[in-house]
């Protein structure tokens, strides 16, 4: 079976880097590609699972090929095209191309060649081989919901947990722009983003549903062998996104909407605007935020004071998520947060001695969004 997880050393010897690209440039290309997939997916009203699947295909593709060989935005279109089909929310190749032509700078779209649709279809074959036809990709979203359900605490705490969950959800969105999906399983990322959001929201988890005596930290219930250091490392990789020099993107960088201002405002108010100096030191990327002042070097260690996800989501229309859960721009159907049925137990049939356990259900009730798209099943060919 292929192994889609890499350690940090391996991420520094990617095909692009072997051909002379520097690490920072590659990271930026990955960010831009991922962001383009999410923005294009949003415009086509695709579900977040489709967008996330596309982003993971994109990241995996560039572990096999180099950015010098394949232009990032064509690969991004192709990844979204394939993810659309795999997640049962297919979009026509020509519609994706059309949207790319509208949104990309002309010099970027020129790289799609003379017959962009044909290029996309040819690239699809290359993409499929590069990802070893590993079409099924799980994302942190479903795990977030499952974990939050266990951590919701007493009835009075539920609204606060909703806020934490909302923030963690946004962090998961943003984590797609990092290579975290190439480093850690979705369960681990979900735990880390929940940990980060809980820290920032000062939500302390004392007990949790299903706690056993040997568990000292809540995430031990969900993942094994995850240390505090590891969680903080993952959190920093996401937080680093917010300290990228946005101007550094140059013309290639897609403009990030500034609608996140309202998000951060609401976050701030929930946090009692604690310690604006500390806030500012980590939010240099959010010039629209009122408390931002000149930034200092680096990030403070977690968990000192709230670090605001000031650009909490580089997605467009993100202002709509301030009070709605889940992000309105991404889903239309609120997931059954606390009413989700428990994951099905492995079923067995013992006739003729064939015991079998069932792999994670597909799409299964654990994944309440992984429906056949919000628009009903696609027309069957």
């Amino acid at each position: 079976m292929p192994w889609w997880y890499y350690d940090k050393k391996e991420l520094k010897v990617t095909p692009s880097i072997k051909e002379g690209m520097d690490f920072e440039t590659e990271s930026q290309s990955r960010r831009e590609g991922a962001r383009f997939i999410i923005e294009t997916g949003n415009k086509m009203v695709l579900g977040y699972n489709t967008m996330a699947t596309g982003v993971v295909y994109f990241h995996r593709f560039y572990m096999v090929h180099s950015f010098y060989s394949f232009p990032k935005y064509l690969t991004a279109c192709c990844a979204l095209f394939l993810a659309g089909k795999v997640e049962e929310t297919p979009k026509k190749a020509k519609d994706i191309i059309k949207l790319a032509e509208l949104t990309l700078p002309p010099e970027e779209f020129a790289k799609f060649g003379e017959d962009p649709k044909e290029e996309l279809l040819i690239l699809e074959r290359i993409l499929l081989q590069s990802i070893k036809f590993d079409l099924q990709v799980d994302h942190p979203y479903a795990f977030l919901l499952k974990y939050a359900k266990c951590l919701r605490g007493a009835a009075g705490e539920r609204q606060r947990m909703q806020d934490v969950l909302q923030m963690a959800w946004t962090f998961v969105n943003d984590s797609l722009c990092t290579t975290l999906s190439l480093q850690w399983e979705p369960e681990v990322i979900a735990v880390a983003m929940l940990y980060l959001a809980a820290k920032l929201k000062k939500y302390e988890v004392h007990t949790w549903a299903g706690r056993t005596a040997n568990q000292t930290r809540w995430w031990e219930m969900f993942v094994n062998g995850v240390t505090l250091e590891l969680l903080e490392d993952i959190c920093h990789q996401v937080l680093d996104l917010y300290s990228q020099k946005r101007s550094g993107g140059g013309a290639n960088s897609l403009p990030s909407t500034s609608t996140s201002a309202s998000t951060s405002t609401s976050v701030t108010s929930n946090n009692n605007s604690a310690s604006s100096e500390n806030v500012s030191s980590t939010s240099k990327t959010a010039p629209q935020h009122a408390v931002v002042t000149e930034s200092t070097e680096g990030l403070p260690p977690l968990p000192p004071n709230p670090i605001l996800p000031a650009i909490s989501n580089p997605l467009p229309n993100i202002s709509t998520i301030t009070s709605v859960y889940p992000p309105a721009s991404i889903v239309t159907q609120p997931p059954p947060l606390f009413t989700a049925p428990p994951p099905p137990l492995p079923m067995t049939h013992v006739h003729d001695g064939n015991m079998f356990s069932i792999p994670p259900p597909f799409p299964g009730p654990m994944n309440p969004f992984n429906s056949f798209g919000q628009f009903g099943p696609p027309p069957f060919q």
Binding site: W3, P15, K18, K85, I126, L128, L135, Q333, P378, Q381
Partner: protein, 407 residues
């Protein structure tokens, strides 16, 4: 230049001679073609690692070949070609579904997908490669076995076939997958008597209708003779019972040796069903009047249900008749499910299900419906490969003791 470690799964020392283009892309499509041609995809092997032996069938989206692993000549596989001609939207979504579903389903009674291979493209097809799904090879399919009158199933062996079939259905339904193309030709049986559900080309994941929004699946699935009444009446919110109707048709076929209802049109199929299972009315099937085609199809009134009566001459066993009666129920909500069927007395009364390997051991010919000389009525395939097969089949016989032509 440091090779990636094995953790990444990329073999060290892979070809990495990539032309670096200043523009950030290939300057011509020719260059890209060349790159793809030369690139040694670490995760997708070349189909030439298998040597084709013979064509054994025609799947929903491509031909199927028997082939052998060149490195391990004793290892046989089935190669299913993914047809991609005239695909405006790239790799077919149906093939993606089949792959995703097969990657999920790992069970002794479901055909095993080994890997996906590609054939190298060449200048003629603009380096468009062909993809193949590689499966474990099974020696027979049930349709081929039933067509061969020298193959005789005892009651215990029929029970074993049905038990494995229902076990497979129970497993896929538990995983929220509908097969949607149950028929004897899609039931494979190894020489050791292990049954495998095959051809997930029409399969899809299903979910319960939610928020009062019924599902809208296509009802243009399932080979006509095995198609359940709800599909014939235009239901688009169906579920696992569609596969159990097919299981009922197949079970009856174990005794009749040919499909029990061979309609030529959907109307005729419905008529055959009514004559076997009784008139389709809201009394026996509440809600049927709401199905789209209920008023558009001609439904004969006042027909009595005669499932047991009509099958009795073939099926002497009481428990078998009773299970058939429960599988061939018009109302899908009343039709027995795989779990209950497995608990039916049929499987728990003497004779108990008995192993098939001994009986199959008497036959050293591979039996596939596709290879049978007489096509069934309604079969549309032209039997054009007879001559081509014989020499390779003789070769195969020497290797495995199994011949690919039958009768």
């Amino acid at each position: 230049m440091q090779p990636m470690s094995s953790r990444s799964g990329i073999p060290a020392g892979r070809s990495n001679e990539i032309i670096r283009m200043p523009s950030g892309a290939f300057s011509s499509t020719r260059e890209k073609d060349k790159y793809v041609e030369d690139f040694n995809f670490p995760f997708c092997d070349d189909a030439s690692k298998y040597e084709r032996v013979t064509k054994i069938g025609q799947g929903t989206f491509g031909e199927v070949f028997k082939a052998r692993d060149r490195k391990n000549p004793k290892k046989y596989v089935a190669m299913k070609k993914v047809l991609m001609d005239n695909e405006k939207e790239g790799f077919p979504i149906t093939a993606l579904r089949e792959i995703r579903i097969l990657q999920l389903l790992k069970h002794v009674n479901v055909v095993n997908l080994i890997e996906i291979c590609r054939s190298k493209g060449n200048a003629n097809n603009r380096y468009k490669c062909t993809f193949y799904l590689i499966f474990d090879f099974c020696e027979h399919d049930l349709a081929g076995l039933l067509l061969n009158t020298t193959v005789k199933f005892s009651l215990g062996e029929i029970k074993k076939v049905m038990q494995q079939l229902l076990n497979g259905l129970y497993y896929i339904h538990s995983n929220k997958i509908l097969h949607r193309d149950m028929k004897a030709a899609n039931i494979l049986i190894t020489k050791n008597g292990i049954l495998k559900l095959a051809d997930f080309g029409l399969a899809r994941a299903f979910s319960m209708a939610k928020n009062g929004q019924p599902n809208r699946y296509t009802n243009r699935v399932v080979t006509l003779w095995y198609r359940p009444p709800e599909l014939l009446l235009g239901d688009r919110n169906y579920g696992p019972p569609v596969d159990l109707w097919g299981a009922g048709c197949i079970m009856a076929e174990m005794w009749t040796r040919c499909p029990i209802m061979q309609g030529n049109t959907e109307q005729q199929q419905l008529s055959f069903i009514s004559h076997l299972c009784g008139s389709i009315t809201p009394e026996v099937w509440p809600g049927v009047e709401n199905l789209e085609l209920f008023t558009k199809m001609e439904l004969t009134a006042n027909l009595k249900r005669k499932v047991k009566e009509r099958l009795r001459p073939y099926v002497k066993d009481d428990a078998a008749c009773d299970l058939l009666d429960k599988l061939l129920i018009l109302d899908p909500s009343k039709r027995i499910d795989a779990d209950s069927a497995l608990n039916h007395d049929f499987f728990w009364l003497d004779p108990l299900p008995s192993d098939l390997s001994k009986m199959l051991g008497n036959h050293n010919q591979s039996m596939f419906e596709y290879l049978a000389p007489q096509r069934r009525p309604g079969g549309q395939r032209v039997h054009h490969h007879q001559a081509a097969v014989s020499s390779s089949a003789a070769k195969a016989l020497m290797d495995t003791g199994y011949q690919d032509r039958v009768f």
